[in-house]
């Protein structure tokens, strides 16, 4: 009886003759086929690496398969239009099925159908009749008492039909809402996700401690056109990130276009915490929101983003400056090779007197990957990596410059002058680190969270609540005798419910004694 949803009836009539879209979307067989198709296609997207250059597919899979992969866009499968469209069909099907079943669901959740005559009770798999030596109303109230004690809700009709006094005890009717809520909330999550991918935006922002940056206006990336281009075109996520990262120069800060922004963020500090044995424990950026209305300082860690006015700031990456240093540890020795003044800590671009001498030393420049061009006599950096670090030191005596020289970490030291013969070596240096924060906006995130919450509610109702109904009918068989008819149905756990029903019967019979 309860299985006959409208969808099933449509299927039984043979929709293949008139497969209107509505009927198709409502058909369970179609849904199963759709899910199987999604399983196969998504699994293929896991096996085929995503976002590699075209040539890589031709090389790895051969000419034929490689070309097929590129033709169907399986190299960026999860953004290709037909894959997105497949999920679109899922959403349509979820909505159509839910709408189609709505009248039926509301009937089964809120309806209180009663059985009209004794014959109706026999149509249920679980049914029984008991004779009780008591008048009808008393038998009915005994049944009511027993079922209410079992936390059933009681519905009883006034008056009789065919001499039968009828009632319905029910509980867990909300179960029938479960699939409805689950389906619609999954549709909500999918729609929210699709819209969010059209409107979401992100930006990688490098910054040195002490620097502040205006929070970029991400609106140009929020346009639907920009993201549709990504779906229809071939721009992969990785290329986008690459494009964003590539305009970091040696000072790290990209030119931020002049746009209207509401607030700025100042990076106060960045540090890498390590454990005693040198393993990385955490990356921490201390940042302050500079807003005319408020000032807020927070520590941003990997799992703890800063959230302000809808913008999320995540700890994304870090790096070392390639043309600046925090300080250099210099080791100065005299001509006998004896150390002078111990380790000398020289901050970048700051004159520091060398103890026990009349010299002053300044570290005025730094190159991460030092190379010297003899023809042009210029020092340049081959890369941004700290492969061959070198500093330019300038040595003064009583304010008069004696000489300047590049000192390489891995090279020989420099002699300050021939007559005094002081020797300068780099013992180590403290690099300047910059942090990279990811700035994001999540326009539809609350819709997604709401969808998740509703999904959990729907699933709990579907799986952990069971609709149980017990129909009771009482016929008067004499002045002090009545016959009680019982029929019962449960949506789940039928074996358990059978035992439950048998217990109930036993208790009903016990009432007579």
């Amino acid at each position: 009886m309860e299985r006959a949803g409208k969808g099933n009836r449509v299927a039984a009539q043979g929709y293949w003759k008139v497969p209107t879209p509505w009927r198709l979307l409502n058909s369970m067989s179609f849904v199963i086929g759709l899910l199987v198709a999604l399983v196969i296609v998504s699994a293929a997207g896991v096996i085929v690496p995503q976002g590699a250059p075209d040539a890589a597919y031709l090389q790895k899979y051969g000419d034929v398969v490689g070309r097929l992969i590129l033709l169907f866009g399986a190299d960026h499968l999860f953004r290709v239009w037909w894959y997105v469209a497949l999920w679109g069909v899922v959403v349509a099907s979820l909505v159509v099925c839910s709408l189609n079943r709505l009248p039926f669901i509301s009937r089964t959740v809120f309806g209180r159908p009663l059985l009209a005559g004794p014959a109706d009770f026999k149509t249920y798999e679980l049914n029984a009749s008991i004779r009780l030596p008591m008048p009808g109303p008393e038998a009915m109230s005994q049944a009511k008492r027993l079922l209410k004690r079992r936390r059933f809700k009681w519905f009883q009709r006034d008056g009789r039909s065919e001499g039968l006094e009828a009632a319905l005890a029910h509980k867990g009717s909300l179960e029938r809402l479960g699939p409805f809520i689950t389906h619609l909330s999954i549709a909500l999550v999918l729609v929210g996700g699709m819209l969010a991918s059209l409107a979401g935006s992100r930006h990688h922002q490098p910054a040195y401690p002490g620097q502040s940056f205006e929070v970029p206006d991400l609106s140009y990336k929020e346009s639907a056109g920009f993201h549709l281009g990504r779906i229809l075109g071939r721009t992969s996520e990785r290329e986008l990130i690459h494009e964003e990262m590539s305009f970091m120069d040696w000072r790290g800060l990209p030119d931020i276009p002049e746009k209207e922004v509401s607030f700025s963020l100042r990076v106060d500090d960045f540090e890498i915490e390590r454990t005693a044995d040198g393993m990385i424990a955490d990356y921490k950026t201390t940042a302050t929101v500079l807003d005319p209305d408020s000032v807020l300082t927070r520590v941003i860690e990997v799992n703890e983003p800063l959230v302000y006015e809808g913008y999320h700031f995540y700890q994304s990456s870090y790096g070392y400056a390639s043309r600046a240093l925090d300080s250099v540890h210099l080791l100065v020795t005299d001509k006998e090779g004896q150390p002078v003044g111990g380790h000398l800590n020289v901050p970048f671009d700051t004159p520091v007197p060398v103890p026990e001498t009349q010299l002053t030393v300044v570290v005025s420049d730094f190159i991460a990957d030092f190379v010297y061009d003899i023809e042009t006599r210029t020092a340049t950096s081959r890369s941004d990596e700290h492969r061959n670090p070198a500093v330019l030191i300038e040595v003064y005596r009583r304010g008069e410059k004696q000489f300047e020289q590049w000192l390489m970490m891995r090279g020989m030291g420099a002699h300050s002058s021939k007559d005094e013969g002081y020797d300068f070596r780099i013992a180590g240096y403290e690099p300047v680190m910059y942090t990279v924060l990811e700035v994001r906006k999540h326009p539809m995130i609350n819709v997604i969270w709401a969808g998740f919450a509703a999904t959990v509610v729907g699933i709990c109702l579907s799986f952990y609540v069971t609709q149980r109904r017990i129909w009771v009918g009482v016929l008067e068989r004499g002045p002090r005798e009545s016959e009680v008819f019982l029929a019962a149905s449960s949506r789940k756990d039928k074996e358990t419910f059978r035992r439950y029903f048998e217990n109930l019967l036993r208790e009903m019979k016990g009432v007579a004694k």
Partner: protein, 414 residues
């Protein structure tokens, strides 16, 4: 005793339990038509259950030692994760055993637990002192442990699914010649797959120092992409005269079980002997070797399953236990793997969904069980298709679990 000692005791106890269970289940003689619900424990069944209980307690001790030492649920390494998974599978087995007094199930669940704990033992047992920053969140415990609970329930669903396919099989009504045709179809698909694999994917799948044998295995593995669907499509068509006898689903159930065992065997061979070469073609060599090992395992399992048939309880009970395991597992998997994962990803990576291989793998698992639930609603429990999806779902979950070892991605923590 250290945690590792308890772990090894558990591993060998599960092995003993598995062997005893299989003996008990396949023993000739007292097969009869006992109803499984009240099936009395025989001495062998009792011994098998006792071995499993001893193993379970020992593994509980191992996990406690490890957990107390680490100060958290020890699920942050592959060893820890798989170890807890095998522990949960045995827990689920003990619950079913207690509730249904059904020892035959042990012959199917014990091997799953054993296979998982053996795979766990292949990974380094070292416990990391310091979690990398990305994992320092309470969401780690929620996301991983709830997903794990779901997967343990799926393992029971898998075992019951295979049992259903074995029970559904009626060898007496298979017409003459259908067996032979089935065998020819499977072998033919394998050979054709290997040839096409060689032809289509060709040399790039072969490492520079592979011998002829290794090249053949690699081609076989590459061809599995073709051979498996080919076999799946052609098998019902070729054995169509055997329709209704359950031969097709039976072959499927045995083949999947055989490949699971084959995968573990190759995994063990690889860690002990370095069987699979690194570099190009390692995946295809692994799959090819797995398929080769599956062939003798397939024959052995067919024999064992046929002996077992009479002892499997009626289909209603199988359906009830199978459905309940999915009804417990699927909601937990939804909440743990997908929803908690998305919330954590939003917090840690700034994006709740990034189509990472493990994310898509979990989505595939979720979809396969969605197919199970819809098929059961549409066709009822009588459809062996439901059992097939339950079997496939667990396989997909296991592949997703270890997939990032090969495929990499954001979840590649090791």
């Amino acid at each position: 005793m250290t945690g590792a000692t308890f772990f090894w005791i558990a591993l060998f106890a599960y092995l003993l339990g598995m062997v005893l269970h299989v003996f008990e289940a396949t023993r000739r003689g007292r097969s009869g038509r006992r109803t499984a619900a009240k099936e009395a424990f025989g001495p062998l069944g009792k011994a098998a259950a006792a071995a499993m209980v001893v193993g379970f307690m020992s593994q509980t001790a191992a996990l406690l030692v490890r957990g107390i030492y680490a100060g958290r649920i020890p699920i942050t390494t592959f060893f820890g994760y798989l170890s807890v998974l095998s522990w949960l599978v045995v827990l689920a087995y003990l619950i079913v055993l207690y509730k249904y007094r059904w020892t035959t199930l042990g012959a199917f669940v014990a091997p799953v637990a054993f296979v998982v704990i053996v795979i766990a033992s292949l990974f380094p047992m070292r416990l990391e002192e310091q979690l990398i920053p990305a994992l320092q969140s309470y969401w780690l415990q929620i996301h991983v442990s709830v997903a794990l609970l779901g997967e343990a329930a799926f393992a029971v669903g898998f075992a019951v699914g295979v049992l259903y396919l074995v029970k559904d099989f009626k060898p007496e009504s298979v017409p003459q010649g259908a067996w032979a045709r089935s065998a020819v179809c499977l072998l033919g698909s394998l050979i054709l797959g290997a040839l096409l694999g060689r032809l289509l994917f060709g040399a790039p799948l072969e490492g520079p120092e592979m011998g002829a044998g290794m090249r053949f295995i690699s081609a076989l593995g590459a061809g599995a992409v073709i051979a498996l669907p080919l076999a799946a499509v052609s098998h019902p068509w070729i054995v169509k005269r055997a329709k209704g006898t359950g031969l097709g689903p039976f072959v499927f159930g045995v083949a999947v079980s055989a490949m699971l065992v084959g995968g573990v065997a190759i995994g063990i061979m690889n860690t002990q002997m370095g069987f699979v070469p690194s570099g190009d073609g390692k995946v295809s060599v692994f799959v090819g070797a797995m398929m080769l090992v599956s062939v003798p395992v397939f024959l052995l399992l067919t024999k064992a399953f046929l002996l077992l048939r009479d002892k499997i309880p009626r289909a209603e009970l199988l359906d009830e236990v199978g459905y309940k395991s999915v009804a417990v597992g699927w909601p937990l998997f939804t909440v743990g793997a997908l929803i908690a994962g998305a919330i954590w990803a939003h917090q840690a990576w700034g994006v709740y969904w990034s189509w990472d291989p493990k994310e898509v793998g979990s989505l595939v698992v979720w979809l396969v069980y969605a197919v199970y639930l819809h098929s059961r609603a549409k066709w009822g429990m009588k459809a062996s298709w439901c059992a097939i999806t339950a079997v496939l779902g667990f396989c997909a979950a296991m592949l997703t679990l270890v997939g990032n070892l090969v495929l990499g991605g954001l979840h590649a923590y090791g």
